[in-house]
């Protein structure tokens, strides 16, 4: 349990920096990709900002538990294990969620695809970190 928590915390810190740093740079250098977020579908009063920034830790703790349960199934070097872990998570969890989101919400294909890629990259990075810390 302690190992799950520690690796979740470390992966959370790394994902926090990479995810929000990447998002900040993407907004700065590719602003056109973000114009669709000017939509009442997205919270705009700032009251949920803390929840938004906690996401890196929420996904890290969840993935850390998942890794601990199924790590024996992922074999090879850390990078390969991380990649496979990321793809498994994306197929099992992300794809169905993105599918239902696109079908139910007034959002664009580009937006959904960007969320899928964002989640996939997060899971791969977390997988590599777990493979190193909690092999």
């Amino acid at each position: 349990m302690r190992k799950i928590f520690i690796s979740g915390l470390i992966a959370g810190g790394i994902l926090f920096v990479l995810s929000y740093g990447g998002l900040f740079l993407a907004v700065r250098f590719f602003p056109a990709l973000f114009t669709e977020y000017n939509n009442p579908l997205f919270n705009s009063d700032g009251k949920r900002d803390i929840l938004f920034y906690l996401h890196a830790f929420i996904i890290s703790f969840a993935l850390s538990w998942f890794w601990d349960r199924f790590k024996v199934l992922f074999k090879g070097a850390s990078i390969i294990r991380g990649l496979e872990f990321g793809f498994v998570y994306s197929i099992i969890a992300l794809l169905p969620v993105m599918w239902i989101s696109f079908s139910a919400l007034d959002i664009t294909v580009v937006m959904v695809l960007s969320w899928f890629v964002y989640g996939l990259v997060q899971a791969i990075i977390a997988g590599v970190v777990f493979a190193k810390i909690n092999p």
Partner: protein, 203 residues
């Protein structure tokens, strides 16, 4: 008897003249009425850190009246325009809905511009003439006092064109500019409001 007749004639004279004012008497008013035509328009321009937006109302859809009263002391411009927030079109359905939500359309469906005064009476010539005036703008239930720069002119069809512009802030009306994705996408506080009233003199 003669005195009595003179008294009654004098009284009659007083009664008849007491409600009539000579036209050159100082302190009196000169009044003009302008009817705002339905094809008047209003445009709100703003920006976020990822794009710019321009939300328009291309047809006012009502016929309100503005009255100009000139006196020695000031030029009072009275009348107001009421704008339905629902009529805003930002040329992007999501932006349009976002602006309506920000302006609290459900609670306050109308935006009002209340005209108060002009710094001088315009000559009404074909060349746009710069004048200034005071208005109250009411958005989301909050009314603020502003000076507006106008350009006023008259065309061949005797239509008076009143173009007004003014920068306002969301925060002037206790509104919070939208911020998305934890503040990564932020709408700037400043909005530029431009309106074009087309009016006809009716007196």
């Amino acid at each position: 008897m003669l005195y009595k007749n003179i008294f009654w004639i004098y009284l009659l004279f007083l009664l008849l003249t007491s409600f009539v004012l000579p036209s050159n008497c100082p302190g009196l008013t000169e009044r003009k009425k302008w009817v705002i035509s339905e094809n008047s328009s209003l445009c709100v321009n703003g920006s976020t850190n990822v794009n710019k937006f321009s939300c328009e109302i291309l047809a006012y859809g009502r016929t309100d009246t503005l009255t100009v009263n000139k006196s020695d002391k000031e030029i009072v411009l009275s009348g107001s325009i009421g704008i339905n927030i629902q009529s805003f079109d930002c040329h992007n359905s999501m932006m349009t809905r976002d602006l309506r939500k920000t302006l609290k359309e459900k609670q306050f469906p109308m935006l009002h511009i209340i005209f108060l005064s002009l710094n001088r009476l315009p000559d009404l010539i074909p060349q746009p003439e710069p004048i200034t005036g005071m208005v109250d703008i009411e958005i989301a239930g909050v009314r603020q006092h502003f000076e507006v720069k106008y350009k006023i002119s008259i065309d061949d069809q005797r239509v008076v064109h009143l173009l007004g512009s003014r920068d306002i802030n969301f925060s002037d009306f206790n509104l919070i500019p939208p911020r998305k994705l934890g503040g990564m996408i932020q709408t700037k506080d400043k909005l530029s409001v431009d309106f074009h009233l087309k009016m006809k003199t009716i007196n």
